[in-house]
């Protein structure tokens, strides 16, 4: 067992599950989408990205790319949220809520790709 692999797989899967936890729920109900879970998803996704820094393999490069996509989408979602609530002094609902959730949905797809890559990599390493 390789502790580096464990840590990496842990963060990749955790990024997906947290992302999923934020994403599920109705598009028009703010109470289905918790700010804490978005925050946690961003932090975990960033850490998962950094863990792939400096990997020179091809699959490592693809991992880095998918993680960067997830980061980008999640941070965009957080920025939209912050803008609506802080700058425009509005309540998150309707269209703005839908765009936050759909952005995180895009991140979910990217995180899902990461997990598929992880599984593929694990299967190719036969012990």
């Amino acid at each position: 067992m390789n502790s580096e692999k464990v840590l990496f797989a842990f963060f990749i899967v955790l990024a997906l599950t947290l992302n999923f936890g934020f994403f599920v729920g109705s598009f028009d109900l703010p109470e289905h989408h918790n700010a804490y879970s978005l925050f946690a998803a961003i932090v975990v996704s960033l850490i998962a990205t950094i863990l792939k820094f400096g990997d020179r393999t091809h699959i490592g490069a693809v991992f880095l790319a998918t993680s960067l996509v997830a980061d980008l989408q999640l941070i965009a979602a957080a920025i939209v949220w912050g803008m609506v609530e802080q700058v425009f002094d509005d309540v998150l609902s309707g269209g703005s809520l839908a765009s936050v959730v759909s952005l995180s949905g895009g991140a979910l797809v990217a995180n899902f790709t990461s997990v598929i890559l992880l599984v593929a990599e694990t299967i190719t390493v036969r012990r």
Partner: protein, 571 residues
Amino acid sequence: MPNLIYIILRRLRSPLIFLILVYAISMTGFVLIPGVDNQGQIHYMSFFEAFYFVSFMGTTIGFGEIPYTFVAAQRYWTLLSLYATVIAWLYAIGSILGAFQDPAFRQQLKRNAFSRAVLRIREPFYLVCGYGDTGTQLVRSLAKEGILSVIIDYDQNRINELEITDFIVQPLWLCADASHSEVLESAGIKHPWCTGIISLANNDTVNLTVAIIAHLLNPNVRLISRAETPEAEANILSFGANEVINPFDIFASYLALALHSPSLSTLFDWMTAAPGDPIKEPVFPNHGMWIICGFGKFGEALYRHLRAAGEDLQIIDADKNKRNMPLGTVIGRATEANTLKEANIESAVGLIAGTENDADNLSILMTANELKSDIFRVARQNEEHNHPVFRAADVDLLMQRGRVVSNKIFALIRTPLLGDFLRIIARFNDRRASILVSRVIGVVERDTLELWEVRILPNKAPALYRMLKDQEILVEDLLRDPVNREKMISAVPLFLKRGKRNVILPEENRILYQGDRILMCGTLSARRHMNNISYNINALSYVVTGEYIPDGYIWRWIKERRKAKTNKSSD
């Protein structure tokens, strides 16, 4: 370049993760802790406000307690997270600076800069592996000729020395092991402008490796390698090397030649002198019994060549366990008078101090001088920095390994015809050689001797090549002064090569053909004149026909008109 990014990214992994974790924990704390707004009501910070506050706190900018004055619980949390974020930042910045200071990183940086500089080269260059005594002299000679060299040496001290030396043409260098193929590749072994690889390592194995790599990666490139044993020489030659230089062999054959024909050896000396070296006085060793002190690689080469030249030889060596030693060898230290007496120094004509230790060699010379002052003394100098001492010892003939190799290689590089020429004249008898020497002396006198090659090819001598299409040019025409064609410049055509045919000392009325190669020797100004006429059609036309061709279309047109007019009026 990608290597550098990977090194930095890998170094940054843990500090960045630490920084993100510290930020996340501090922000979560601020979002969870209840504060009080201006109206005294409970207010929870949003993530936006928490991120804003932690950002300016962590970077020690500190705008104050925003958005509302903090309660005690928030201040406790601020204290904790303040120190944590500052430490996280210091850690991250320290890691980045550390990565830049890292020797591996800096080496990589240098290597990248070197490969980029090599890739940008747009002129012919030589790749020199090994910057020892030989390499130093060779690179200096090449730079004087305006030839660029790219140097690889694994010894950092050598590279430091290189960095502080001034050259006319600044070479490129890298501190690395030349026996690694990727090092040779980044030094341009496959570069289209790489004219040759010169392998000068002290170690025959390294030279052999370089030869193999060069043979596999770029079989068309010219390879000149140094080797110190006949076995290594044969081995390197089998990998397609063009020339293998064995300093001991060259020197031994030179000494044998000096015994056999002093004028020929003088000629060899001149032809292979480094640029700017004055012409040396000829040496005249006598035939008879020679004592060779030290039976290493040098001693063996001397033994082979001098015995073939028919001399009596007496070997002295301190090591009685050495194999292949000839019969009658005196075992003992040649630095002691008793040993030299045992070797019968009284009846010897010459003594060769050829051990691998400079102090021993000097001591042998001193002892020999006391025993027999009129003996012909030959010394081997191993280290370049001992040269002043050897010069003061006033020996008759000095063997400097580095100089022997670098001069030979330089001569081969500068004038590829020279190798053929030297091989041919080596078979001359002393009388023919004397004629050759007197011809050369008649022209150059005490000046330093320049050697160059005239190649009648479209890119090497365009004017000559063009004019030969519709005009006959004689060897003699090349020797005319482009200022006054009645005068001759100080040059001698030594050798003419036309396809497979060789002509030594071509006659003045010999007709030149396209594709001819002529080896010339003479003074520097003669070389410049000849360069001028091989490029400049006007100068050439004056030299050959005595007529000036006007420069430019208008003058030519006017001249044509005038010619037509005079023709008409004479009709």
